[in-house]
């Protein structure tokens, strides 16, 4: 699918980019500032945004990942619009339930490369293949890491494999 204009691609991705940063930085103000930086960087090279919608989304998240990588709190006076976004996010937030906090903490406790893979796939909505591109690793490696990350998460969270696995395990035991 293609987008009509790069402007639309950027506008469409703004909310997802905010989510991307909110899940990776501790301070809401930083997330608002990072969205701002990403928009600025994207607009500088707007003519290079791929025309395909999904490719454009990949490209924008690539910019976002680089902005995040090089982000240092600048301490400079923040744009009023960035302040407004930060405040709006603060006000809109509701207290997260313990179960949500537990899962987030479990993801944070994973080795960095596994945690980022989980975030990209389960939180940012990328396929394993797309996440592999972002991380610069082969898709087969991403699949292996993803399985390992989920196994670790199950162990941390005390999860059983899944319903079908449990059922077949029970059946096998019953058949003995």
């Amino acid at each position: 699918m293609t987008h009509d204009h790069p402007e639309a691609a950027i506008a469409d991705a703004a909310s997802a980019l905010l989510g991307f940063f909110l899940r990776r930085v501790e301070l809401v103000d930083d997330a608002a500032e990072l969205v701002n930086e990403t928009l600025i960087e994207a607009w500088k090279v707007v003519h290079r945004i791929p025309s395909d919608s999904q490719a454009a989304r990949m490209w924008l998240f690539g910019v976002a990942r680089n902005v995040l990588r090089h982000h240092r709190r600048s301490g400079r006076r923040r744009d009023a619009l960035v302040e407004r976004l930060g405040q709006a996010v603060q006000l809109a937030r509701v207290a997260d339930e313990d179960v949500v906090l537990e899962v987030r903490a479990a993801v944070r406790s994973l080795p960095g490369n596994l945690a980022e893979l989980i975030r990209l796939v389960h939180w940012d909505g990328f396929t394993l293949e797309e996440a592999a591109v972002h991380l610069g690793i082969p898709a087969s490696t991403a699949r292996g890491r993803h399985a390992r990350a989920k196994a670790l998460l199950r162990a941390i969270l005390g999860e059983v494999e899944n319903d079908s696995t449990v059922s077949s395990s029970i059946e096998r035991k019953a058949g003995r």
Partner: protein, 212 residues
């Protein structure tokens, strides 16, 4: 659905349907879009900032030569060579830019080298804003359309710029504009780097170079 997948999905949700938040985000996105639209009509206001890296990059090792001289960088990691023509195909000159990554901090060095192994340098094109900037300073902005296909001098606000007596060849302008593109891509992938002592460009307008 795998119960773990469901728990992960729930843990990744964030508020996105709050009216104030949506409004604030839309306002920010629109402001940045509007800023970009404005800059398209008066491009020199912002590029002077974004060009900081490349102005430094081309300022130090730059040799305004019309033929090859001796190189300061004898052992480059990356060499970018282009033969330049105008839009009509008339030969302008041949330029070579050399980058030496060994002077960079170790972490940046590895990433710069890695970056250049993954990109197709031939696909990079000169930054039109940079071309316009240099032509304006050289007092010949009317040449813009001759060098950049489809570019119109009226798209650029140039009234703040003062003319310099320094004249630069068309080929050199195009090579430096190419360097600007590469510098920006490097910024996106590697972060800000100082290339003062690690970048050098030479150009020759000798037609014999163009046939080689």
């Amino acid at each position: 659905m795998d119960p773990l997948d469901a728990r992960l999905s729930a843990a990744g949700r964030y508020v996105r349907d709050d009216a104030d938040l949506v409004s604030a985000l839309e306002a920010l996105a629109e402001a940045r879009a509007e800023g970009a639209r404005r800059r398209r009509r008066r491009r020199f206001a912002a590029p002077v900032l974004t060009l900081g890296a490349v102005l430094a990059l081309t300022g130090a090792g730059g040799v305004a030569a019309t033929q090859w001289g001796s190189w300061s960088i004898a052992d480059p990691d990356i060499v970018i060579t282009r033969q330049w023509t105008d839009v009509a195909g008339t030969y302008l000159g041949t330029c070579e830019s050399r980058i030496r990554a060994s002077d960079l901090p170790e972490e940046k060095r590895a990433r710069v080298r890695e970056y250049f192994t993954t990109v197709d340098l031939d696909a990079f094109q000169p930054d039109p804003e940079f071309v316009a900037l240099h032509l304006k300073i050289a007092g010949r902005l009317e040449d813009l359309g001759r060098l950049v296909p489809g570019a119109d001098p009226d798209d650029f606000r140039t009234d703040e710029l003062e003319r310099s007596e320094n004249q630069t060849s068309d080929a050199r302008v195009m090579q430096d504009a190419l360097a600007q593109t590469i510098a920006h891509e490097l910024f996106l992938h590697v972060g800000r780097i100082e290339l003062w002592s690690t970048f050098e460009t030479q150009c020759s307008e000798d037609p014999a170079e163009g046939r080689s």
